[in-house]
């Protein structure tokens, strides 16, 4: 049972344009959501997170939107840069003290072209 889903395995975007990565979840208990970026041969690197009490969180070029009623979140990258090319994982957790137990999606490979 895939509780966190990233339905787009890959995405190609031109440099300077907006990249939008999507994530859906099924477990309504999730109350904290994160995005991680992963380069080959490296571990996932934390990008940005959002608590379920918010619907938007912004950090520089990265913005995460949360739609709880739709159980959907998205990551916007504006403007996209070639260095953003990586695999992006959406992750979710719930409950105090359980933040180590992240449920990940299967990832979306973003390629930013020149």
């Amino acid at each position: 049972d895939q509780q966190v889903k990233q339905n787009s395995p890959s995405l190609s975007v031109q440099e300077g344009r907006i990249s939008i990565l999507n994530c859906d979840y099924t477990n309504s208990m999730f109350d904290y959501f994160l995005w991680y970026k992963k380069y080959p041969a490296e571990g996932p690197t934390f990008l940005i997170s959002i608590s379920s009490i918010k619907d938007k969180n912004e950090d520089g070029r990265f913005t995460v939107f949360l739609n709880k009623s739709a159980k959907h979140l998205s990551l916007h990258i504006v403007p996209s840069q070639p260095g953003d090319s990586a695999v992006y994982f959406c992750a979710a957790s719930w409950g105090t003290g359980t933040a180590s137990k992240l449920t990940f999606g299967t990832g979306t490979r973003l390629q930013v072209t020149l």
Binding site: Y32, Y36, P44, F46, S100, L102
Partner: protein, 112 residues
């Protein structure tokens, strides 16, 4: 400031053997979690250690066990290896189990 370090980086084992993977958390962190990432999948939670005890466990069999030492470093042990155990094993650390977690670069285990 050293991040999360894992050893070894690569490992090849035969079915039925046992393996031990090691992890040192980021400085200042006291909680270690282990994840298994199969090819084409997202990381899957194996278990979390805090104060030298297993605090949470994912859906993994008892062949997977671990340990946390007083210096917060951790080991993951897998017994009776199966071909399906071939994966990237990621260690993540945090402070008191809080997000965000910081991940190491992983150990690539191949079982033949």
């Amino acid at each position: 400031d050293a991040g999360v370090t894992q050893s070894p980086t690569h490992l090849i084992k035969t079915r039925g053997q046992q393996v031990t993977l090691r992890c040192s958390p980021k400085s200042g962190h006291d909680t270690v979690s282990w994840y298994q990432q199969a090819l084409g999948q997202g990381p899957q939670f194996i278990f979390q250690y805090y104060e030298e005890e297993e605090r949470q466990r994912g859906n993994f069999p008892d062949r997977f066990s671990g340990h946390q030492f007083p210096n917060y470093s951790s080991e993951l042990n897998v017994n009776a290896l199966l071909l399906g155990d071939s994966a990237l094993y990621l260690c993540a650390s945090g402070y008191r189990g809080q997000s965000p977690l910081h991940f190491g670069n992983g150990t690539r285990l191949t079982v033949t």
